[in-house]
Amino acid sequence: MSKKLAEAMADLDEDIVLSEVKALKQQGVDPLEIIESLQEGMGIVGKRFEEKEYFLSELIMSAEVFNEASQLIGGMGESGTSKYGVFVLGTIYDDIHDIGKNIVTTVMRSNGFEVIDLGVDVPTAKFIEAIKQYKPKVVGISCLLTTCFDNVKECIQAIEDAGLRSDVKVLIGGGPVDEATGKYVKADIVAKNAQNTVDYCKKFVEVQ
């Protein structure tokens, strides 16, 4: 574990992060160990976010730095490492918002989750197919439009009808989504932001 790298990552110091990753790579350090240091730094970013020292701006910047750094060592691949298992995520059909979903994807990956990003305007069948194929512990549905609440509800009901509901927790998030929405669509958890998603998923995985 490189303390210098973890600290630079936590401080969002891109120049030091990149030079340290290059140096460690040249020294022949295992890429997985480098990723672990970066993830250690991301853990501190999360803590600072919780303590209101960092905000969405820093969360986004941290994800960008993490992406750059991981690319230097061959990238995290499509799905990243799977210290905490698989997380399936998509924006519900009829909704093409992708910014929030993309932030969650990157923040989750950089915190040790394998993320299957299904994209935007995702039909129910694709969520079900992904749950069957990847067997995630948590599936995330992003929804930025009140007009799509019924689509989320239908999707969650279909997951239940397919007999998959007992194996997977359903997390929803997005601007207009609140606790009442969560109750209406029968989600397990309403995530207020990307860090909230990480915290919930880690807690759930650790409990398992």
Partner: protein
């Protein structure tokens, strides 16, 4: 029975007194609605997006059906105009989307880092038209031709006895770059090349505020709608917020106030951390328009004695709640907010709001 002119005068007086924090016979209700009007009156969202004239007709029908509201936030639906304000492409129902799918920004990194230099060296007005036409493939002439109906659209609503709340609209300049660069890239720029972003914003600010001042004079606007769309405190650390968001809200609102209008600041998201900044404005010169994400009671506590508050029946409640829930929420707001309060939805009334919920919100103010 009152004539439409008498109704208009009564409603306008009620609104103006509220803006001045004076006591009124009842709380005014101003509806922020466009998509809702289409579903309410049996049209598709594609019908609403055909043009300014069409959306104005649908919105007026909806207003008349809803009865004793004081007015509408605007006189036409803005979906098709979005590219000119957010510098991003928009997908419209009936054109890029199915007829009843809501219009949505199709945000991508369309503005490149080198564009900052172009803006700094050549000016915003020498950059924006070409960017919209060549990169976003937006037919600016067609949109401008459509918007030219705006004054008539406003007149149609006034002639029916309703107030049109905002007569002029602007975004804070950081939103032009945030939309064009896309949110993530813009945030990154704030960390990597803050001075360059700031230099471009200064160029933009000078030109945009000049244009806004002219717009206010030409339209004789009494209320100007200023949207710092994604400027909420929750999105930025305090240092970034102060430098790249607040500065432009303050300068723009000051210019609006100098021109003699009231500045309605549209506050989507959670602004609680920074409410104290707004104390700097002169009494009665701004309206804080919140969407339910900021605790409206905090707004009242910190700023309520000096400024009018507008909000904040949540969109989700209008879509999923019962009429009783909406009525009780609205009634409580009216009671607790007191003078200087305009009852409204939190941001727009969503297209899938239940008509009986919207009517329940109105009833809470009118007592009918």
């Amino acid at each position: 029975m009152k004539t439409t002119q008498e109704l208009y005068n009564e409603r306008l007086e009620r609104l103006n007194k509220t803006l001045a924090l004076e006591k009124t016979d009842r709380t005014p209700v101003i509806l922020q609605m466009d998509g809702f009007c289409a579903t309410h009156m049996g049209y598709t969202l594609a019908d609403l997006c055909k043009g300014v004239k069409e959306s104005n007709k649908i919105m007026l029908e909806s207003l008349k059906d809803l009865g004793d509201v004081d007015g509408s936030e605007s006189s036409f639906a803005a979906g098709s105009v979005f590219p000119l304000t957010f510098m991003a492409r928009v997908k419209l129902p009936g054109r890029d989307l199915p007829d009843n799918m809501l219009w949505q920004l199709d945000e991508a990194e369309m503005m490149k880092p080198e564009d900052y230099d172009t803006i700094i060296n050549k000016g915003w007005s020498n950059f924006a038209p070409g960017y919209l036409r060549d990169r976003l493939k937006v037919n600016v002439d067609e949109i401008m031709e459509d918007i030219a109906y705006g004054p008539q659209a406003t007149k149609n609503i006034i002639d029916a006895g309703y107030v049109v709340y905002k007569q002029s609209t602007s975004l804070t300049v950081n939103e032009y770059l945030g939309g064009g660069r896309s949110m993530v890239k813009f945030m990154r720029d704030l960390f990597k090349i803050p001075d360059k972003v700031e230099a471009a914003l200064e160029v933009l600010q000078k030109e945009v505020v000049e244009g806004l001042r002219k717009q206010i004079r030409d339209s004789k606007a009494s209320v100007v709608f200023l949207s710092p769309a994604r400027g909420a405190s929750e999105f930025f650390s305090p240092k970034l917020w102060e430098r790249f968001v607040w500065k432009y809200i303050k300068e723009t609102a000051d210019a609006v106030i100098e021109e003699g209008a009231v500045c309605n600041i549209h506050m989507d998201g959670n602004w609680e951390r920074d409410l104290n900044y707004f104390k700097d404005f002169p009494k009665g010169k701004i309206v804080l328009e919140t969407d339910g994400a900021t605790d409206i009671y905090k707004v009242k506590e910190i700023l309520g004695s000096n400024f009018c508050i507008k909000g904040d029946v949540p969109a989700a409640k209008l879509a999923l709640g019962t009429p009783d829930e909406v009525y009780n929420y609205s009634t409580q707001l009216i009671k607790d907010m007191g003078n200087g309060f305009i009852l409204s939805s939190g941001c727009s009334v969503p297209p899938n709001a239940k008509v009986e919920n919207v009517k329940a919100m109105i009833s809470a103010a009118t007592g009918k």
